[in-house]
Amino acid sequence: MTETAYQHPLMAAYWKQLDTRFPQIEAVFEDVMAEALAVLTAAGRDAYLEAARAVGKLGRGVEPMLAFMEEWPSTAKVVGETALPAVMALIQRMQKSPNGRAITPFLQTLAPVAKRLQSQEQLQHYLDVTLDFMERTTGSIHGHHTTFPSPGLPEFFAQAPNLLSQLTLAGLKNWVEYGIRNYGTHPERQKDYFSLQSADSRAVLQRERHGTLLVDVERKLDLYLRGLWQDSDYLVPYSTAFDEIRKPVPYYDKLGIRLPDVYDDTGEISGLDRYRATLAHIVGHRRWSEAQVADNWSPFQRMAVEFFEDCRIETLLIREYPGLRRLFLALHPRPVEDACDPQTTSCLRHRLAMLSRALLDPDHGYVDADLNDFVARFHAVMDKDESSTGEIAALALSYVAKTRRQSDQFARVHFDDTVVDYRDDNRQLWKFIEAGDEEEAFDEERKFEPGEEIHGLPPRHYPEWDYASQTYRPDWVSVYEALHPSGQASDIDRLLAKHSALAKQLKKMLDLLKPQDKVRIRYQEEGSELDLDVAIRSLIDFKGGATPDPRINMSHRTNGRDIAVMLLLDLSESLNEKAAGSDQTILELSQEAVSLLAWAIEKLGDPFAIAGFHSNTRHDVRYLHVKGYGEHWNDDVKARLAAMEAGYSTRMGAAMRHAAHYLGARKADKKLMLILTDGMPSDVDAHDERLLIEDARQAVKELDRDNIFTYCISLDPKADEYVGDIFGRQYTVVDHVERLPEKLPELFVALTK
């Protein structure tokens, strides 16, 4: 075998230099060498052969060597052959660690990765990320020699080209970082994460993607539809990240307009403008297109009708807003006139794409006679009025008939530059009289099994702050909201009666707080009315020869009070404990305090809501409405408050974010969120106790940004250790829990004075 006689003496020399016996290498040797010789310098060639030899001698079979020999020339072509030492260094590191099995996937995806990265510097970053990944996920037991290979590494290499097509290197780094941090100690989950199987992994990928995300521009697009087109519909994103083979196309149906979740900028056209082009096109169909019966037309005829109709509505759109022409033309491909050979390939798509370009672009420059003839006929039809789908379809059919070629039937279809990606899939353009004419009948009616009835509202998802990485974990917590169950309203009345003395005292304070409608501001040089007392005094001064005071007017100011309040109650298990120095539980004391406070706020007339929360892992945070803003302090509310029960844990951040979503919607000058809690944020699935504290702190910051003032009333005597970290200086620790009923309303009054 090794003595194969190569025709060319140089080839024989190279083969010798390679020093290998693998027959698989021999089979491809001449081909890969030809490619290598075309792109590598003499020195590069020697280094290539030397490196290939080294990879072949790693003792890992033929696979790594084969991968290297095939991938390196095209890699070197993109990033330069000087990158070789760095790649070899990484291979050496892998070889020495337990991760030798990952060498093959690494080498196999090297060329596509290099193609994405485009420079040696970028490739070096990629190698660094990889090395870091490898070192941090390679496990060892008891720190001894028994080490385990990194479970995620081979999966990662397999995904790398796909990932880099969507992420920048920095994004990739964050994505990897997230995976290592959260699944570093869990081999199976780590594999799921790095092979893009887990929901988490996809969510983080989504977050790190480049381009314009639909969610970020949704409002702008909504305004665009409404403002420019007097239309509106739901904009539903579909994912473009995971369908590699068949990219979905925008479309619309009864449920809304479906758009890709992200658009990259192309040339000078921003992602936002691409969305606008797509929406404008869809609006055009909705305004002017009429569904045609498709049964009698061949697929080619239908395709032609679609192209013509798309151009018709775009012409009408441009008539409405002439600036759209620039946008459409920038996004529309410009097929080269003789790019398609009709002898060997089906050119219909190519012809139609050229025609479509020519119909929109006055400077198309195509010379084909038929094409120019039909462009003229199209414009003649359009110049009269807005034409119709039927009329334009007739034109399309005659175009197909006129330009038809035998080769249109060929299986090999010319696709280059024929896809107009801002156009929808035209499913609304067709109606079928007979079902099942096609080979595959997709639109069969399916029976739906009646599923389980959903109780309550679907969960809302909130992110959670991960302080270690300073990032949010997207959609990490599920919050289920429900109305709090009811008990006996009379229980609360009894509690209030017990505190009647306190209530009386409170009432006095409240009277002072009540808005005094008009306040007079005196001594104004410019005011709404003459202040007679001052005016006469001034007049006397004036007559007496002294300088009079010119501030003789007064004006009025209304002294309004515009505060919306949200009281958030921690209903975790620890509330069932007896308060120190009292025979009541903390829960009972809280009930009393909240009742008094609610009564007081009702007297003041501030809009006010009460809600409780507890949690049982991140998948089940419960948010219970006790009183809504629309409700008064009536028996329904009291009954709910009476039924308050304690259980589970305290995931405070998620509850605060959810409460803020209600409070934030209030129209008030000042928004106050009071949080009554008896311990630090914690949950059974959070092992790091700082985690939920930091998350709560982050939630406070978010709320602060939304102009919501948070204030914590902690009943935990040891709260000083952490509560300041969360709330800054906006907290009070109530040491004597039994005095809570009087403390809480007092505190509220003091805060809102």
Binding site: L223, G227, Y321, R325
Partner: protein, 288 residues
């Protein structure tokens, strides 16, 4: 001091002083015919209302031509027009009149409403909802069969001149709970409901007002329409005809249309980045 918003009143007072009580009617006359494009039959209806001295209320969004209409009618009927722009700080005495201090005592000064009632002018209270409710009730006795204005501080009961008529305008658009007219005030007026004219008419108005050619005017109106359909989705009020006229004026002066539109149509009405971007896009898509 008197607020600058009621500067008319200041003029009245000076005129009063100089001519020792004699009111100079002519300064309130509308000398030149203002351009007004009738939308329906509002001119004839107004004339009927004036013949019978019925108080008139003109409703409509800002910049749709309410004030222009009143000015035009005053010109057409050849009556003096006294306009008062109402504002929150305005008090009853700003309308009726007040005592001022002078070197040797105090002196009564008629307010614009009193002046109008004395000389028989059309008194136009612009944006009446801006004034506080306790202020607006002083017009009540002038608007029913009594047609009188009691000046209680002065101890005079003024009987309105036979030519006197009261016109108020208000913009129901930004009416909030706080800013609405009392029913007792509303039900003293006959009312015109104004809105922005339809696109063709509005383009004609913009063209005529500025001498702009019709095609550009139509484009401006189109952009105006974009903003008007965003009302309630982040915009309190669409782009008014007045702003369209501003834009046309700028373009006429040689400013590039896209810049003129941004400056006159978009920047004034919103600080919302999303809306601004949408309107900017509409401008770029309209002017090529």
């Amino acid at each position: 001091m008197i607020e600058n918003e009621v500067s008319v009143e200041a003029n009245v007072s000076e005129a009063n002083v100089k001519q020792s009580g004699r009111n100079d009617k002519d300064q309130y006359k509308v000398e030149q015919e203002p351009f007004y494009q009738q939308q329906k039959n509002e001119v004839a209806l107004y004339e009927a209302a004036y013949r019978n001295r019925l108080p008139v209320m003109v409703k409509g969004p800002t910049g749709c031509g309410k004030s222009r209409f009143v000015e035009y009618m005053a010109w057409k009927l050849n009556k003096p027009l006294i306009t008062v722009a109402c504002n929150e700080d305005m008090t009853a005495s700003d309308l009726v009149g007040r005592y001022l201090l002078e070197a040797n005592g105090t002196r009564w000064l008629d307010g614009p409403l009193t002046t109008a009632a004395r000389i028989g002018a059309i008194c136009y209270l612009d944006e009446i909802v801006e004034a506080r409710q306790d202020t607006t009730v002083v017009i009540h006795p002038l608007t029913d069969h009594r047609r009188t204005l009691p000046l209680d501080k002065k101890g005079e009961l003024l009987h309105a001149h036979p030519d006197f008529q009261l016109v108020i305008s208000y913009n129901p658009g930004y009416q909030t709970l706080m800013k609405d007219l009392k029913q007792s005030t509303k039900q003293r007026f006959t009312a015109f409901d104004f809105d922005y004219p339809d696109a063709a008419l509005e383009a004609q108005i913009v063209a005529k007002e500025t001498g702009m050619d019709a095609a550009v005017a139509a484009k401006l109106v189109k952009i105006g329409g974009v903003a008007r359909s965003l009302k309630g989705h982040g915009l309190d009020e669409g782009i008014s005809t007045r702003l369209l006229v501003y834009a046309a004026t700028l373009i006429k002066d040689g400013v590039a249309p896209t810049d003129a539109c941004r400056m006159a149509l978009v920047r004034p009405i919103t600080d919302d980045a999303d809306i601004r971007e949408t309107l900017d896009h509409a401008i770029d898509a309209t002017f090529v």
